[in-house]
Amino acid sequence: MTLLDFSALREVDDDLDPELRAAAHLGAPAPRLVVENLRVSFRTPDGERPVVRGLSFSLGAGECVAIVGESGSGKSVSARSLVGLTGRGSVVHVDRLEILGADARALSSRAWRRLRGRHVGFVLQDALVSLDPLRAVGRELDEALRLHGRAPRAERRRSAVELLRRVGVPRPEERARLRPDELSGGLRQRALIATAIAHDPEIVIADEPTTALDATVQAHVLAELDAMRARGTAVILISHDLSVVARLADRIVVMRGGEVVESGPAARLLGRPEHPYTQRLVAAVPGLETRGRALSPEGAEGPSAALPEAAPGDGPLDPPVVLEARGLVKAFASRGARGAAPLRAVDDVSFTLHAGETLGIVGESGSGKSTTARLALGFSEPEEGEVIVLGAPWSRVPEARRRPLRPRLAVVAQDPLSTFDPRWTVGRILGDALPRAVRRDPRARAAAVRRLLDDVGLPAGDGSVLGRFPLTLSGGQRQRVAIARALATEPAIIVLDEAVSALDVTIQAQILDLLLDLQRERDLAYLFISHDLGVIGHVSDRVLVMQHGRVVEQGPTERVLRAPEHPYTQELVASILPAPRPSNPPPGRKDPS
């Protein structure tokens, strides 16, 4: 039981033994954290399952190390093992783990507790669930303050408000009395950060701190972390998002399946990624610049590679209008006590969608873009205005009249899983989606299903997913199945509502490539809804920017994103983090030597 007094250790930081310096690649003044060969595995009924295989890095004051990886890369577990919270059934081996110069391998659970929050702050993603949803953020802060230190109530209340102010929460006094769900995404994330830095910890670990946030908010939060780093806090940033990392990190560790594939100074790693996986990651980030280019090596072999310049939309001169929205208005009864008047989720939205083009609708949460999508799909009826699909009235008509046209208008949702009947196998799901005639004839049906799988790049032969349940598929596979189902009825229009938002960046790249290829092959019209300007910039021919249910700006993507006119659009564009662009030709084309 080593109960360490870390405050005492701060002084001795200066004279560090050379070994430790060696361990820290850079001559950082005094490594606050040294990790060598961290290995984590989980005991499962079927043996130990390693999730981290040898992670090493060191971190000095005012430094930021980023650990980048996709789901299952082990980055989060690594982060948690640094505060001894890998959870039940986990086995952690580490050759060396020094926190503030003290050997943390032999820490008692009690000592860990004194360490957490006081010397190491931890910020999780999505404050909506990472802060106790039933508590006012003030109380949450109060808990943080109470845990280490015996300040009286009143003082704690003061410092709570002070903390909120520090992380840039306006009107902190009243905000402290609100619950996470009563705060905007940005504010609540800041509140979460505030709880983590209540005791000015020397080290802050941020695990996907901005993932759930809108672009504009994301920028603010990152700025906050940056400020902390500037104040001398050592920051460990866990993220899947290279653009986020590029903004903050001094050094980057890229992980994949528990292995460290590449690590080094941020500029170098992003500029000249060496490992093919890193190259893929870098190349996979969509944006205006990547238009018409494949994002994934797989996609590179597809038609898009064949005609790289063929920007979508360069079809016939005046392609027919397939979908039109005229002055749509949709209001919802005001939620709860606040918001007296009915909230206008969609307010006078009009647009046209031409065959073979992609219309991107971009906006932040609550901007009404998804409501617009539902109106277009005829899932809900507009109070005013109307939707016209392929020239036929679509709004305020009995479902029976829409039905004949339904097959021509398909949808792919953000979370495909919920759109699959859990009892059905992929084969049945797809078969069921086929036109009646095909559906009825077993042979034709089987063939058609195979073709669909093939179209979306899923194995139709052996290793086929036909017999599997959606639940057992990976996110990418699920989304492919969803797309296949959308294609089953040979639609003219596909509404994609945040269709790629839930995917890892490399998977997202593949799906985006797939979508664009399909569009070219079949002259599909996409109504593409996303909160991610990068994605929108990559896919859409024209974009429609929404805020508070209104269309603030619309026009050709290039124009809108390069020369935004409306102030909101400008803010939005400004908030885009510059995606890291490799100086050498995009990966996938040639082997990295």
Binding site: R114, S130, L134, T195, A337
Partner: protein
């Protein structure tokens, strides 16, 4: 919180309450009018302690006394009117207002029910916090106990408790004299299965909440395990159990029927059983309506409680 936001639900709730009550009254009334045999005969026989047919001459006065000869709808209308005036009618056998009869017994049952629910909650909370999400073995043990206790029928548990602790060890009195001590066994009889039942609902939620990010970030703030369990997780986990408690009150009333007969306690249960077995229509209907009222009241409380525990519900 503006008034309007409270007013709307309030109106709705009261509306439901009235609906339930009237429905209950009607159902009960119709049920009772469907009873077999001639009520006048029954009354006469019960007074005489003999079971035999009666001549019209014998029956005439009784029929007149209780207006049993009037058409049904009239009896029903009078009944509902009386209900509005808070008059539940008069017992056939005791010649007394039903309100009074129930009134004297209500206290005992309410005390029993409330105590039972309180004890059930205490047992459940301690048990869950102690065993919830503590790894395979404890969880296994925990849920086994949940399931087992939840499966114990009140009548059996009651007799066993009586046998062991009152008759055997003599720790508790055999009779339901008003003393707190005499309340323990009956309350436990109702509480133990209830606790198991609530625990089943809570455990799942508790283990889910334990794995929620907010619990993790509390730990990352340096909060202790117990602190997380009591301070954060329990509150979340208790929500389903709270909404079950409204139903639970009904269950304890059901249980009271049995428990009161085992521990020979006075109370609504006894009144009901004897009234049903002696076809004392007004009393039975009275009890039924009362139970419905109980249910309504309980649910108001439940709504209130869960709104307290989960402030988000106030907004919605």
């Amino acid at each position: 919180m503006t008034r309007s936001s409270w007013a709307r639900p309030a109106v709705r709730i009261v509306g439901n309450a009235v609906g339930v009550l009237v429905g209950a009254a009607t159902a009960a009334f119709l049920a009772q009018t469907a009873l077999p045999g001639d009520r006048a005969t029954a009354i006469l026989n019960i007074r005489a302690g003999q079971a035999e047919l009666r001549t019209p001459e014998e029956l005439a006065p009784i029929t007149a006394e209780f207006g049993l000869d009037r058409p049904l709808w009239q009896q029903y209308a009078d009944y509902l009117l009386g209900l509005v005036r808070g008059d539940l009618g008069t017992s056939y056998l005791q010649f007394r207002p039903v309100g009074a009869i129930i009134g004297e017994q209500l206290g005992a049952t309410v005390v029993l029910a409330i105590t039972a629910i309180a004890i059930a909650w205490m047992l459940m909370v301690v048990w869950i916090v102690a065993t919830g999400g503590r790894g395979p073995r404890l969880t296994a043990l925990g849920s086994l106990v949940d399931v087992t206790t939840a499966a114990l029928p009140a009548y059996w548990l009651g007799i066993i408790l009586l046998l062991v602790f009152a008759l055997g060890l003599g720790w508790f009195p055999v009779l339901g004299d008003g003393t707190p001590l005499s309340l323990v066994l009956p309350a436990l009889t109702l509480a133990i299965p209830l606790a198991g039942f609530l625990a089943q609902a809570t455990r799942t939620e508790f283990e889910r909440a334990l794995e929620q990010p907010f619990a993790l970030s509390a730990r990352m703030r340096g909060q202790s395990d117990l602190g997380v369990r009591l301070g954060h997780v329990l509150r979340h986990a208790s929500l389903p159990a709270i909404s079950l408690s409204g139903w639970a009150l009904g269950a304890t009333l059901s249980g009271a029927v049995v428990v009161e007969s085992i521990f020979s306690r006075p109370g609504i249960g006894q009144v009901l059983v004897s009234a049903v077995s002696s076809q004392d229509l007004p009393v039975v209907v009275g009890v039924v309506v009362l139970t419905a009222a109980f249910y309504v009241a309980a649910n108001l409380l439940v709504d209130l409680a869960s709104a307290l525990v989960d402030p988000r519900q106030r907004a919605a």
